[in-house]
């Protein structure tokens, strides 16, 4: 399995992989409490990247990576503000 050792590398590889195929990529998290092991997996069914850790120092980075990936998944676009000219016209 493709385990990556450094968090920085994993994060970059994850973002690249997601950008490549946003509709097929899934991000999976496996947590084993008895063993204290956290494994992150990102795959687009062609390439797969994993990261495993036993230490809690990654928790914050993990959360921020979560957020950034979920945002990309939703593909949020800021709503285009309706031009003030048209709204004024409708009032008249």
């Amino acid at each position: 399995m493709v385990y990556i050792a450094s968090w920085q590398e994993y994060q970059e590889a994850a973002e690249i992989l997601y950008a490549k195929s946003p509709n097929k990529t899934r991000y999976c998290v496996k947590w084993r409490s008895s063993e204290g092991k956290l494994v992150l997996k990102i795959t687009d069914d062609t390439t797969c990247i994993k990261f495993k850790t036993y230490s809690s120092i990654f928790l914050n980075r993990f959360e921020s990576l979560n957020l950034s990936l979920m945002q990309k998944m939703q593909n949020r676009r800021p709503d285009p503000t309706p031009s003030p000219a048209t709204s004024k016209a409708s009032r008249h």
Binding site: I16, S34, N60
Partner: protein, 168 residues
């Protein structure tokens, strides 16, 4: 797969974490929800401007599985609760072990030092110090092999790093 709303999802996830504290696993999967109700989707719509829901699935590998859809507007709220729930539940992770990290760093430094210094082979060919000299010869060969392996790894790394950006 049971579909629930965000709040129920978080509550059930919390319960699941408690239940699997000593035994069992929790699998979380996040994906973009491109399922549009069954029929084949015509890709005429502008794919880069469409907003999607985020599908989050949980399972414990056995009988529990449920999922939720997260809308774009709810993401920040959901993620705040979700993130803090995760951070609070991952209790059995080891804390930052300064001692171990120091040990590891020292070991790595020692290894590097040993690779840098060459092995001196000197001693008599026959007689009293012969075995010692043979050991030195062996050590020198091992050092050569280790240096070659290290050089190969460096090459592989520098080759892979730019290639990783251009995945197949």
């Amino acid at each position: 797969m049971q579909l629930v709303d965000n709040n129920t999802f978080l509550r059930r996830l919390e319960k699941l974490f408690e239940a699997t504290k000593d035994k069992g696993t929790v699998w979380l999967t996040h994906k973009r929800l491109t399922y549009e109700g069954g029929d084949a989707v015509m890709h005429n719509e502008d794919e880069s401007n469409k907003e999607y829901l985020c599908l989050v699935r949980v399972t414990d590998g056995k009988k529990t599985q449920f999922s939720t859809h997260v809308k774009s507007a709810d993401l920040m709220k959901f993620h705040a609760a979700y993130g803090s729930l995760l951070k609070a539940s991952f209790t059995t992770l080891r804390k930052r072990d300064k001692k171990r990290e120091k040990q590891r760093a020292e070991q790595a430094a020692r290894r590097k030092q040993r690779m840098a210094e060459p092995v001196v082979i000197k001693g008599p060919k026959r007689g009293n110090g012969r075995k010692k000299k043979q050991r030195q010869v062996k050590a020198a060969l091992k050092l050569e092999a280790a240096k070659e392996r290290a050089a190969k790894r460096e090459e592989a790394k520098t080759k892979q790093a730019p290639r990783g950006a251009v995945c197949t």
